[in-house]
């Protein structure tokens, strides 16, 4: 199968999953669409061989994650050095609420980018805290704080359920006393 056929197959068969993942990371419909296309373009700008469509989809998914993390990091660095020009990180999109009417969508859109990224990597990708920290070039403590903050914000929209992360954060705080 030629690259073009693989791209077409991705759009025909994998778009729902890839869009869902991209949306979880960026928190907007248009942003998710753009991110998916950027990832596919980047992936297929290089000739590759794929064992099957699932392998291509997994690669694109990883590229989505990397592109997003790079963008978050770049924006954070830029705005940190120019605070007077910085935009608010949290920009909940009312469009999302109207279009999706989904509590999860609204909740995710309400999270700051870095917090949302940590939540997605930890809970959707099932990455360990250490792996999330490595991917985001952040300390594990920072990631735990992101996770804790994210869970707290998500709990305003729905009950996120129990998780070891929360208990671990509590234990860390207690240990510091």
């Amino acid at each position: 199968m030629k690259d073009r056929d693989v791209v077409e197959a991705l759009y025909a068969q994998s778009m729902r999953r890839l869009s869902a993942y991209a949306y979880a990371l960026v928190g907007s419909y248009s942003g998710a669409e753009e991110l998916v296309q950027d990832a596919i373009v980047k992936t297929f700008s290089k000739r590759r061989r794929w064992q099957d469509l699932a392998a291509a989809e997994a690669y694109v998914r990883a590229t989505i994650r990397n592109l997003h993390i790079d963008a978050v990091r770049r924006n954070a660095r830029w705005t940190a050095r120019l605070p007077k020009l910085a935009r608010d990180e949290v920009v909940p999109s009312p469009e999302v609420a109207v279009e999706s009417d989904e509590a999860v969508a609204v909740a995710l859109a309400s999270l700051p980018p870095r917090v949302r990224t940590a939540i997605v990597l930890r809970y959707l990708d099932d990455m360990t805290v250490a792996a999330v920290a490595s991917a985001m070039t952040a300390s594990e403590g920072t990631v735990k704080r992101y996770l804790s903050d994210g869970r707290a914000l998500l709990s305003q929209h729905f009950e996120p359920g129990d998780d070891d992360e929360l208990r671990e954060t509590v234990r860390v705080k207690e240990a510091r006393r």
Binding site: Y11, A20, A24, Y29, S45, W50, A103
Partner: protein, 361 residues
């Protein structure tokens, strides 16, 4: 997956379905493919740039049963973040860092974003600060244009309103900080012997990429003994007709019975006897000229080396009048090389000789 993970998965899956339903997959696919082709063609143009002269290219081809792999990344933008003591790991970040520092009026920080051997002064920074002003940071648009050489780039900076904030030359500090990019700006330091911007006229060093076989358990050839180490290879254009390629450390671990080998090529802008057309998609990007025969582990030993050794090969281009003038491009390396050396890949690069066969699917 945790409870929260399942909630997020279910919620985002429905959103994904909505996004999927909003567009026509065929149109989306066509739009994406247009961008892909554009990128491939743009990359191909890099390799045919006639302005490139003293930069050499070597293509490694590894071969063996079941296909094999060689992936030696060239020095290109998008190195890992925070990997540069000076400059930045990409062209774009170099310009951003430079502009940020200038906007802050921080002369030392500006100098740190300049190529080795250059320094900023307060007056110039103040002047630049005035040009940049308080332009909305997020709206600045950076446009990297085709490099005038493989280690030099031109970046146009403008605001969202279209105000031109200037063009900036960016170079890679190949000799001092390989893989790191900085802006050419300011004043030259008078007595810094390492102030050259580009590689010393005849030498280019590329880092070899490791972990290149991780997806290919049967890959017959490897460099180094793991995913670590700052291995490099150097290409010296010794004179107008001679190229010398040295790998600091080579480990050939393939099974000689499977004809595992590596092979070196120069990529040239002109066809000479023995060279083979090199294509990116349908675009001719150069001509591959074999520098060496196939070098297997056994052959390496026959040459006086061992399975682990420094490998140097020289290319005497007897029939080429001006080798440096026709050596083009950097090779961005393959992660997919067919048995027999049919294709070399990189970011967008390259099929070789004939159309790439369809992968098993």
């Amino acid at each position: 997956m945790s409870d929260l993970g399942e909630v997020l998965h279910d919620g985002t899956d429905r959103v994904g379905g909505q996004i999927d339903a909003r567009g026509d997959s065929a149109l989306r696919s066509a739009a994406a493919w247009q961008r892909i082709r554009s990128r491939r063609q743009r990359r191909a143009a890099w390799y045919t740039a006639g302005t490139v002269s003293a930069v050499a290219v070597v293509a490694f081809v590894a071969s063996g049963v079941g296909g094999s792999v060689l992936d030696a990344s060239p020095v290109q933008p998008a190195a890992s973040a925070n990997s540069c003591d000076r400059g930045e790991p990409s062209v774009e970040s170099a310009v951003r860092g430079f502009l940020e520092a200038a906007q802050d009026g921080d002369v030392d920080a500006v100098t740190a974003e300049l190529l080795v051997g250059l320094e900023a002064d307060a007056d110039s920074v103040a002047e630049l600060q005035g040009i940049i002003g308080d332009a909305e940071a997020d709206s600045l648009r950076l446009s990297v244009t085709q490099p005038t050489s493989l280690t030099r780039y031109t970046v146009k900076v403008s605001t969202a309103d279209g105000d031109d904030l200037g063009r900036y030359a960016v170079g890679e500090m190949v000799d001092q900080h390989p893989g790191c990019f900085a802006v050419e700006w300011g004043q030259s330091l008078p007595s810094d012997p390492s102030a050259s911007v580009t590689p010393s006229a005849s030498t280019v060093r590329y880092p070899l990429s490791f972990g290149m076989f991780e997806d290919y358990a049967t890959a017959p050839v490897a460099f180094g003994d793991g995913a670590n180490g700052g291995w490099t290879y150097a290409i010296d254009l010794v004179d107008a007709q001679t190229a010398s390629i040295t790998l600091s450390h080579v480990v050939l671990t393939g099974d000689p019975d499977q004809d595992a080998f590596i092979r070196f090529y120069l990529v040239l802008s002109e066809q000479i006897t023995g060279s083979t057309p090199l294509y990116d998609d349908d675009a001719l990007v150069g001509y591959m000229y074999p520098l060496t025969q196939e070098i297997s582990a056994n052959r390496l030993i026959e040459l006086g080396g061992s399975e682990e050794s420094t490998l140097t090969t020289r290319f005497d281009a007897n029939e080429v009048s001006e080798l440096a003038a026709i050596v083009v491009g950097d090779a961005v390396w393959s992660d997919e090389v067919d048995a027999g050396g049919v294709s070399i890949g990189d970011d967008g690069f390259v099929s070789y000789g004939e159309e790439e066969p369809s992968p098993a699917y």
